[in-house]
Amino acid sequence: MTSTDENKKYLLTGNEACAEAAIQAGCRFYYGYPITPQNEILTHMAIRMPQVGGTSIQVESELAAINMVHGSAAAGARTMTSSSSPGISLKQEGISYLAGSELPCVIVNIQRGGPGLGDISPSQADYFQAVKGGGHGDYHTIVLAPSSVQETADLVYDAFDLADRYRNPVMILGDAQLGQMMESVVFNKKCEPDSFKKEWALTGATGRKRNIIKSFYPVQGELEEFNAKLQEKYSLIKSKEVRYEEINTEDADIVVVAYGTCARICKEILMKNKIPNIKIGLLRPITLWPYPSQVIQEIAGKVQAILTVEMSAGQMVEDVRLSVSGRCPVYFYGRTGGGIPSPKDIIRKIIEIIPVKEKATCAT
């Protein structure tokens, strides 16, 4: 594609939609390194960035990519890097520096199976890394988890706005399935990158006092003061930016909590009404940080059980348990190493839970 028409529907992979949405959101500086299953982002940027007067560099390493993002963010531009799990691990030091320097940027993780080199199949095993910090120090990135190609595009627009609003890195947490599958997508979100004034940016100190972008506070007490300021910002984000989708949770017997690809699979079970005698609800977190703890806590008081479904050995389920805080039993079903839960497996798990619900006093 050479341009986008906001009235037109495009058939694109999640990766391509992600890249195109970034361009539509005003991102003009992209730095990436090849790694499957996110290569289409790199190739789309290589074609499209020159057409819009932007920069796309295929870098020598993930470290170079995240640190070029650091430079372009410090210079006041909208900037992005993308990778998949092993590459995102390499970027973690840089993400900590970005958070510590309060620099806005977007980082895309199209997750694949791990640990180590793992495989190139879909996975959600980077949840801990994404939402608990990932790098060193007390910091958070805002983490957005799309579950369709259209939502990937829409959340990329929002990611750039959130990054600029809070001067904070934002991560799009997808997976190999979301990145590789094709769906129709429209690019019609309005975006005004220039509405964010970046008086702190490095532009050359002409007609103003000089600016310094740093995360080093060697004087005793200064770093604690800075951390307090960061925590205040994170509290504000928690109070304003939680997003989730709730389906049939009102009078449900059991509510499934799942995000991304897993949420799509669970939604199919609900929509097709596959277990007519059990009322199933779905809570789909869209922001993984900040986490929709409040709504999960409320649901926990009304249902017989909660089931968390993930493509991991059980990571988000820890946040579900913290939110539920003993109000109802929490069950987990997960696949690892590139395995994808099938509707049949999830239905079997639900049927297993509901008949034993009275006995289930502790979470499994």
């Binding site: 640190n67 650091h70 490095l202 532009t203």
Partner: protein, 248 residues
């Protein structure tokens, strides 16, 4: 009366945190003088490294950015691509540039990013009390080479100017020292040439400066100067290694 020697406008008039006899103060002053003379204070952006020079922004009154250890060339690239009309330089030590950041410096040079790198080589990790650097001389004693650097175990010192001069994208590569007024004047001329290379959009420039670290060399300031002139320059000869002006 006309002042013939004063603090450059770009230099913040404050005591530095550098150790007695350290060369960083001289080199940063030279950068400040050049920025004044070229009248580019309002359009220059600097990158400070991890290491002794991390607080360079306390002394240079310009827009500045810190970078993670070894990554100033990547950060400089990110800034320069956004502001191609600004003068962007990174200021790096030998651990930062020649060890942990070797990949970034080679690829940044090879892409011929239009930036200038000031590479301060004092043959040791100063900030962490004096361990072996990639540029530590053979037989030189450091905290981590108590018997002296051994070629068999640690390899020979890495010569960055020689290495970068064969990288296709580099345009101006030179090595100088700050051991005498003559050498300091020469260093200034070479850094000026680096800035000129960038202003004329010729591409990547790097000026290596041999600089004393008396405290972690366990020497007096006078001995340190002598060590550079008599020993370091044997491994790291001074001179211009690559110059776009003489290459045509």
């Amino acid at each position: 009366m006309e002042a013939v020697y004063k603090t450059p406008d770009t230099m913040i008039d404050t005591p530095t945190h550098y150790c007695p006899g350290c060369g960083h103060g001289i080199i940063q002053r030279l950068i400040a003088e050049i920025i004044d003379e070229k009248n580019i204070k309002g359009k220059t952006i600097g990158i400070a490294p991890v290491g002794c020079a991390v607080l360079a922004y306390n002394y240079l009154d310009i827009d500045m950015c810190e970078a993670a250890h070894g990554r100033p060339p990547a950060v400089a690239t990110g800034i320069k691509r956004v502001h191609p009309d600004k003068i962007v330089f990174s200021y790096q030590g030998d651990g930062d540039l020649a060890a942990i950041g070797l990949s970034e410096i080679i690829h940044t040079a090879n892409r011929s990013e239009n930036i200038t790198v000031i590479f301060v080589n004092n043959a040791v990790y100063g900030m962490t009390n004096g361990q072996m650097a990639p540029t530590t001389l053979l037989n030189q004693k450091t905290l981590t080479t108590p018997q002296g650097r051994s070629e068999q175990c640690d390899g020979p010192p890495l010569r960055i100017c020689e290495l970068l001069s064969v990288v296709g994208g580099s345009r101006f590569i030179a090595r100088a020292s700050v051991t005498s007024p003559k050498n300091i004047i020469n260093t200034k001329q070479l850094i000026e040439k680096g800035f000129k290379t960038q202003i004329q959009e010729k591409g990547f420039s790097l000026i290596e400066v041999l600089s004393p670290c008396p405290v972690y060399w366990r020497m007096s300031s006078v001995e340190s100067i002598k060590f550079i002139d008599d020993e370091m320059t044997k491994t790291f000869p001074l001179g211009v290694f690559k110059d776009w002006e003489s290459q045509n």
